[in-house]
């Protein structure tokens, strides 16, 4: 049986741990609220833009644009969005599981230090890594998106895909792959997104053969495409942030609850040990008195 002193020491350390996890939970909770709001507010915009683009891609007959032409896929280009810090439950490891399932050759651009470490550790091709701080700004993400598009342009990669923890609710984040380039399967991607969120897509009108473009299709396409890509990656990064904070909050809450439970057990054990000590002492005193008498 451990001595009361040992147990007391353990109780103290568990208490400290609980204090820390509690603080982290509170911090994560307040950040989560903001991040979730940002992610959910941007969702209609992102989806509407994707739909617009799909309509456009459908109707532009001379799909000469390099973003629209499917080419033979030798190397996949993947943007992986992870977190900078750990202690956020299974968030990152779930993403990595998805990455390990990719058997075809692929090159990665990673946001977040955890992802960079993983890609380096598993000897995958890392094109570039970017930090993932708490204030995700559009300008930061634009750099990532533009970098990847450049690689696509140069032929280093033949697709641009994005892996991020899709935010469903505070408890559920689903690691998801979505393809950004080429745009041939935008429609499929959007349908998938709708299925994932459970929202009903707006009823599609039968594709009319004619659509008017002003000034003309090419100009619209050329200004819409880069904006779409940047916005899409930005939106995904926002969602990843919301997921990270949610996941961290839940993980910290579990840790706190576990610490509380452990504390109860330890206190019980401590009291038992203390009681045993007292009983022992009384016994000894009684025995001494008995022998003296």
């Amino acid at each position: 049986m451990p001595s009361t002193r040992d147990i007391r020491r353990r109780i103290k350390s568990v208490k400290n741990t609980r204090q820390i996890t509690k603080a982290m939970e509170l911090v994560a909770a307040s950040k989560m609220k903001k991040a979730q709001q940002a992610a959910l507010a941007g969702r209609p915009y992102a989806e509407l833009m994707a739909r617009m683009l799909a309509a456009l891609a459908d109707r532009v007959e001379e799909s000469q644009h390099e973003f629209l032409v499917k080419r033979e896929v030798k190397t996949r280009g993947i943007i992986l969005i992870t977190s900078d810090k750990g202690l956020c439950g299974p968030l990152n490891s779930n993403l990595f599981k998805l990455v390990t399932e990719i058997k075809t050759p692929a090159k990665y651009a990673v946001i977040g230090r955890k992802g960079t470490q993983f890609i380096a550790r598993t000897h995958r091709a890392l094109l570039a890594d970017f930090p993932a701080n708490d204030r995700t700004t559009f300008a930061d993400i634009k750099v990532v998106a533009e970098f990847m598009v450049q690689q696509y342009h140069k032929g280093v990669v033949d697709t641009v895909e994005i892996i991020w923890p899709r935010f469903r609710n505070t408890l559920v984040q689903v690691p998801t792959v979505m393809s950004l380039l080429p745009l041939t399967d935008v429609k499929a991607a959007i349908a998938e997104l709708h299925a994932a969120t459970g929202t009903v897509p707006v009823k599609e009108t039968p594709a009319e053969s004619q659509m008017l473009f002003e000034p003309d299709a090419k100009v619209v396409l050329e200004s819409l495409l880069p904006l779409y890509l940047n916005r899409q990656v930005y939106h995904q990064a926002l969602e990843a942030k919301a997921s990270e904070h949610s996941s961290r909050m839940v993980a910290m809450k579990t840790a706190k609850d576990n610490a509380t439970k452990l504390l109860g057990d330890l206190t019980l054990e401590y009291n038992k040990a203390r009681q045993a000590g007292i009983t022992q002492e009384i016994l000894e005193i009684a025995a001494a008195q008995f022998s003296a008498a």
């Binding site: 507010a41 509407l48 634009k142 009108t205 659509m211 002003e214 000034p215």
Partner: protein, 135 residues
């Protein structure tokens, strides 16, 4: 027969209602949309967007983006959009001044920042114009 108009910005869904007509400022000038319009995809300029419903016209200040007309649905995708009633003239004036000062002060800031400031200046100008036109 009515149009369903939806104006969405990255921050929020600014407007969502059924309307009678909508006039959109595009690169090639203003385009009026009535029910039954041909499918259209166009680029929006900074400017004022007019919405008429039951004879009442509403003005919105809008910054660059895209508009899509498909059947009886009009989707507007813009960086910024604000209803005329919500424009705070003094705040906008202050913002405009700040942005202009920054533009004048730094000639060699990075192009993205420059672009952003310029767009801010134009959007502020548009907001003021929309706010003042009815006086």
């Amino acid at each position: 027969m009515a149009l369903t108009l939806e104006i969405v910005t990255p921050e929020a869904r600014v407007y969502s209602d059924t309307v009678d007509t909508v006039v959109i400022p595009t690169l090639d000038g203003e385009v009026g949309i009535l029910p039954g319009h041909i499918a259209l995809l166009t680029q929006i300029e900074h400017g004022e967007l007019r919405v008429t419903k039951n004879g009442v016209t509403q003005w919105l200040a809008i910054s660059g983006g895209f508009a899509e007309v498909e059947g009886d649905r009009v989707h507007v995708l813009a960086e910024n959009a604000i209803n005329e009633e919500k424009i705070d003239e003094h705040a906008v004036e202050a913002a405009l001044k700040r942005a202009e000062e920054q533009l004048a002060a730094a000639r060699d800031i990075d192009p993205q920042q420059y672009e952003h400031l310029q767009s801010l200046v134009r959007y502020s100008g548009v907001q003021l114009a929309v706010k003042r036109r009815r006086r």
